[in-house]
Symmetry: C2
Subunit: 460 residues, 2 copies
């Protein structure tokens, strides 16, 4: 292990340079204009996996973007760790809010990262995180210290719902066989607190349109007499929450598992500084469901957010138009045991019921994902806990995350194995937002910790 850790220390600058190569590729899966970049990104991963000493490196075709696979089987009798990550990224817009180019990675010091952070789209989500695994495995292989088998499965459609991954996993069950799935695509609760994510929220996502007249209308001639789809859409959206911030969809909370008083007391131990929270994102006050703390609101409670809205005249100046159509993208974060498909149906039925008879409403569901609670025991969890405690020098704590990684439920169902969510990001990385960044401390701490995970997992 000393040799591996020494190798990591000596190659720090090279690892960072290589990550920069990855970050420079705009592998935006949501936008067809970047198809070639996403494909190039898959090939670059294959190159790095080969250079790391892995075998059977393959860019596997799927219905959509390819899955990059690689393995190092040192002994069939030893356990196997499957590492999952994704090489696609969210669109970078709004571009004008970035202080440097989203695909021109730079190191800048921040309050949280005085030693520097890597600024680029995908720095934390998830390029900087899956790349830690390639480098950690490279270090173990180079020093003959890989203690068990390892497989990599890096996909290119996570940000658009991992639509082809299900089919790929089903077709390749034997190839993907493993004893634990290790994923770094989440955050620590704080930079100095070793922590493991044990719960993820699910997702339901629907695009809605409200149509009034067949054409845009003059608000002087028709104002007050014809339906205005924007006003109507706003009224419908407003009705989705009650005055206590509860979601009004009938049956929405039916399958929500309420935490026990004990569990809530455990959660309340996670440090939370309201002023620091407000300052970190520049909000005047927090805002959410009555009766729950901020840490509860963003992890164990389901939510409903409008992610985008548009309609009518949005240019400079004034135009007195009543548009024909108004649109919104609305998503719900779900918690155990809410079912995304059922919630999507419930949402669509309820949303349509809110419309007055003057308009037509259409709903288009996007991808969803199951909420998931991970075991906070078991061999994989224990190995991660020990590895983190070792490198941070502190006890590791479990926590629930508000985000969604829908494929975790899929993996358990298809491959029969549990996932361990050992992420090294921070909430302040502002993933999906302008100026996404990933601390150099976190990047190197991850590479340092991963070999210990392998060591502890291979033991006994």
């Amino acid at each position: 292990m000393d040799a591996t850790q020494m190798f990591i220390k000596e190659n720090q600058q090279r690892f960072l340079d290589e990550l920069f190569q990855i970050l420079k590729i705009p592998s935006i899966s949501a936008d067809p204009a970047y198809t070639q970049d996403v494909l190039d990104m898959a090939e670059l991963n294959a190159k790095f996996l080969k250079n790391a000493g892995l075998d059977n490196v393959e860019v596997c075709e799927t219905e959509g973007y390819p899955v990059v696979y690689a393995e190092k089987i040192i002994d069939e009798k030893l356990p196997t760790v499957l590492i999952y990550g994704h090489y696609d990224v969210q669109p970078p817009d709004p571009l004008d809010k970035w202080d440097s180019g989203p695909f021109e990675p730079v190191i800048k010091k921040t309050e949280i990262h005085p030693e520097g952070a890597i600024f680029a789209r995908g720095a934390a989500d998830d390029k900087g995180q899956y790349f830690m695994h390639i480098k950690a495995v490279e270090a173990m292989i180079a020093n003959n210290q890989l203690p068990c088998n390892v497989k990599f499965m890096i996909e290119g459609e996570e940000e658009v719902g991992s639509e082809s991954l299900g089919g790929f996993v089903k077709k390749n069950k034997e190839k993907l066989k493993n004893d634990v799935i290790l994923i770094s695509d989440t955050s620590l609760v704080a930079k100095d607190i070793p922590s493991l994510c044990t719960g993820l929220r699910g997702l339901s996502y629907v695009e809605v349109s409200v149509k009034g007249a067949d054409m845009d209308l003059h608000s002087g001639i028709y104002g007050g007499a014809a339906p205005n789809p924007i006003n109507v859409l706003c009224q419908m959206i407003a009705k989705l929450h009650d005055e206590n911030g509860k979601i009004t969809i009938p049956g929405f909370y039916d399958n929500v598992i309420e935490l026990s008083t004990n569990e809530r007391a455990e959660m309340a131990k996670v440090p939370f500084d309201l002023d620091a929270y407000k300052n970190s994102i520049g909000i005047k006050n927090i805002h959410g469901e009555k009766g729950y703390s901020t840490n509860e609101r963003n992890s164990i409670r389901p939510t409903l957010d409008v992610n985008g809205i548009w309609g009518g005249y949005t240019g400079e100046g004034a135009k007195t138009v009543i548009p024909s159509v108004a649109h919104a993208k609305i998503s719900m974060r779900l918690v155990p045991d809410q079912n995304p498909e059922k919630i999507t149906e419930m949402f669509m039925d309820y949303f349509k019921s809110l419309a007055p008879d003057s308009v037509e409403v259409s709903c288009k569901p996007h991808h969803g994902g199951l909420p998931y609670v991970l075991p906070s025991d078991g061999k994989g969890y224990e190995a991660a806990k020990k590895a983190l405690s070792h490198t941070f020098g502190k006890e590791t704590i479990p926590f629930r995350s508000g985000g969604s990684i829908p494929i975790v439920a899929l993996f358990e169902q298809e491959l029969g194995s549990k996932s361990v969510l050992m992420g090294f990001g921070l909430d302040s990385d502002v993933i999906h937002s302008p100026n996404e960044n990933y601390g150099l401390f976190n990047f190197y701490k991850g590479i340092e910790t991963i070999p210990y995970f392998f060591e502890y997992f291979a033991q006994d």
Copy 2:
């Protein structure tokens, strides 16, 4: 008069060709990218006014786009008609909803216009309408049948609030002195019903922004805990109307003049076919303030419409973002005696009061305009009524329009003269919308009618 009318008949095709030259210029005052086109348009007007035989033609500089002035003073002792129009147009977007280019005028037959209609931005609002006056005056001058003095004042900022016109009028009171102002920038109640607009709604227009966090946030990490400016904006907009469609701004209706039972009974005589109305714009049902008819809702009642809304992710597919800011453009059509400045203040105060303490709200007022009721007697109104009755062969009826022409109130205040709104458009012209059009029947009927107005107005 026969010679004038004969001249008009003989020159029909040339008049249309000339109008096409005007319609080809994208004189969009709202968009600085079209500055040169707006200026070119002013020059082309000057050319046509000169060719029509007018004197002292001048492209007058203002703080903004120029006002084109021209006159023909045949005898200082005779009365003077001042013709007002505007040569700027609304932006044509959404472009993809046009069946032909907005600045490539074509004649197409429609259900309402089996003899053909001119399709182009500005065809009805207002290029096709003010051009009728240039041609009618040309015909009278060419045949020595102009019975009184005439002045033209054609501005280039009507669609952006006529901001420089007030200053121009104040500086040029002597030059603009007149006995009546004649404007064709409104509609007939139906193609075969001679009708004169006797009331206009005023306008208050405010752009609002709701800000949550300083940056876009990941809805998994912050959803449910941080304010979502889109949800908040929708809730605030929804609160602007009550369940009866009444506007909730305190004091909003205080100065609204309610019509008497008799006046409402008079209004109810204007023909209205609900199914035809619904079909003409493709709405499932009408939608408006309880207790008022459609013709009342869009003319004698004040309204509040969101004209544009935007925020968050509006591209293809799904992005789980909570945006930093959401925006809307909100306008109110006002009726006598509501004051636009007061209403704008009331709106901004009330709108801000609707915000939760988690967000910051900012409001930016755009131009407004006073509501106005025109006299349905007096020499100008009588001349227009007689002229219309003559050319349509039917009695002329008065009506109130839902639109706003803020400068009418300004003219009365600064020049001391009344306006006559003798418009020849139709509501189905879809001004401000894609496929704006103006019937050939209406264009030629206007040119035919205007000389009779002059004749009747000069009499006695």
